[in-house]
Amino acid sequence: MSKHWLISGLCSIVYLHQRRRPIVLVSSLIGLRGLVPIIIIRSDPFFFFACRTNIDDIDTIRIFPGHDYMLEMLKRQLVEVAKKDPSSHVLDRDDLTVTNSIKFPPAFYFTLMERLYMAEKKRGMRISNTPSYFESEFTMSTDFRRLRDLCEHFLDCLLDWVERNGSVSLDKGEGVVRVGGGDTAKNLGGGVDDITLSVKRRRVKPVFSTIYSSDLENLVHYREGNEERRYLGEEGVFGILDKTLNTMPDSQLQQLQKPGVFETDKDKMKEQERKRKKLYAALYSLGLPPFGITAGDSARMNLAILGHTKMMDKRIDFSRIVGVIERLYLFEKFATNKREKALKGIRNLESEIGENVPTAFNICAVLLGEPNDSGFFLGRLCCLCGGKKTPERYGEVIAEENNMEKNV
């Protein structure tokens, strides 16, 4: 009996609920023959807050959608995640509960399953699942989760930029080993110009990989057995590396001995490219107001007229970005000083851009430390507007488009 109480007690989710503060979840797993492990999970405060906070406490709005798709949407979320899981072969409900328990944050997962259960029950009783609450959609809707992800990416980029104060630039050079961005790089000479190494010091992702010595030897034999041997000379790859290490200053050697993730320039470029694209997506999603498919549409609906400009040239509104971050409670998980740092960073970003239009391209250039050259020369040769970005009067725009407009 006491064992039963112990197990049931540990199975309970014990939560320490402080209003809008991080939550600690303690849960446990039970094997077939008793208690197996105890897992202590620090849940994301956002998810727990949005899932479990009493909805009376927050200023929320009820949503009345045009279709009763709640059950289908929730099922789809589970099935799509399960499809991505290589270990799941059968999409039965029991399998879903097992495989997806790993994918979602615990608080969100429990809430999702609860809502799915309730939605199915209501559907069976022919009761509508509407209305739902707007705040709850922040976790239940994949699109709002995507928005949150983009917000976090923007904040990451911003705080990175604040940390390095916009002074770090990534110099690329052939045959150069850069350690921690130091300025005393060593030229290795010809032959290994594509093995440029760098130490990533600020943010070390928990990535582990194993390289076997036999693989390395095979690689060396392969390289030395080919034409590249003549570039390497008699000393070979290891000889060059030894020579480099021997001539390297102590400060750089100490940097090398620090734990870090080594990556090639190619990987770094890919990561940088991904980072840039995601930042563009974040700025387009968060910083631009809705606008019509044509300027005439925007004019008729009283929306912002952004003209016949490329997405790159459209003005980003920082107040919208801050508004979304506040609304999604992303600042809640920050310490006060970090929050101030982020807000100050946005102000600094505005002043850094200065008199230029704060477009996505300009902001990316500042945050990621890249040269400010849009390269969109062809975009400025727009035959429709002739470079006129902001039409002065709505009537002119509508008159311009009367002939070319088609109702899709």
Partner: protein
């Protein structure tokens, strides 16, 4: 250890009970009507705006939802997205008979967008309620529309129903979302309900059928617009 486990278990049960009580209090105002065979769900109602307005959920077609916003005091009401006129007529008769024993004064038909499953019943309803005006987004060019809506327009029906319009051009060129204003808070505009059409569903969103081909994130921008309001 035993005490801790027992404490956690009891605490969880109490919390669940408390949260269920909160939900029950919220749902006290719901009143269900037994649905006819062609209704996929029952007609339900919800009291909002300091208990001055009622919103009725009326099923239509396979999974569409039509809403009736009603002021029980005055009988003033409006319909949102009446796709199936037969179901709407049945629901209106039931509401008149059993829930609000007062002649309904339908003043407006609000369309979130032009698609037939949201607007097919307009003509038949307008034929019966000639005083009702049809409101639709200015870009939709919907036949028979009386008022073209723009972003930020305020629709006032009687003294109690006030609805803000937010343009969300993505699902269609003239898609709009209707915000129902709270009554009695004159200092600050607050909203209690949002009629999203096919732009936002519970747990997902609609497809951006009519957005620019170079625009990759039209729906997300619309959601941002909802967030920053």
């Amino acid at each position: 250890m035993l005490g801790l486990g027992r404490w956690g278990h009891v605490k969880l049960l109490l919390w669940e009970k408390r949260s269920m009580m909160v939900l029950d209090e919220k749902d006290d105002s719901d009143e269900d009507i037994v649905p006819p065979p062609n209704f996929h769900t029952a007609i339900t109602s919800l009291t909002v705006c300091n208990e001055k307005l009622k919103i009725f959920v009326i099923a239509s077609f396979a999974d569409n939802l039509t809403y009736l916003i009603l002021s029980p005091n005055s009988g003033c009401c409006c319909l949102v997205d009446p796709g199936d006129s037969e179901n709407v007529f049945f629901a209106l008769s039931q509401i008149e008979l059993s829930i609000v024993p007062k002649r309904l004064n339908l003043q407006a038909i609000l369309l979130t967008h032009k698609h037939w499953d949201h607007s097919a019943g307009c003509a038949a309803i307008k034929a019966c309620f000639s005083s009702a005006k049809i409101y639709c987004g200015a870009n939709e060019k919907f036949p028979g529309v009386d008022v073209d809506l723009k972003h930020g327009d305020l629709i006032e029906l009687g003294e109690e129903i006030k609805i803000d319009t937010v343009a969300v051009p993505s699902h269609t060129r003239g898609s709009v979302i209707f915000y129902l204003r709270d009554i009695g808070n004159n200092d600050r505009v607050q909203h209690s309900a949002m009629f999203t059409g096919d732009t936002l569903f519970s747990g997902g969103c609609g497809a951006p059928f009519e957005s620019g081909i170079t625009d990759l994130v039209p729906m997300q921008r619309c959601f941002v617009e909802l967030l920053v309001r």
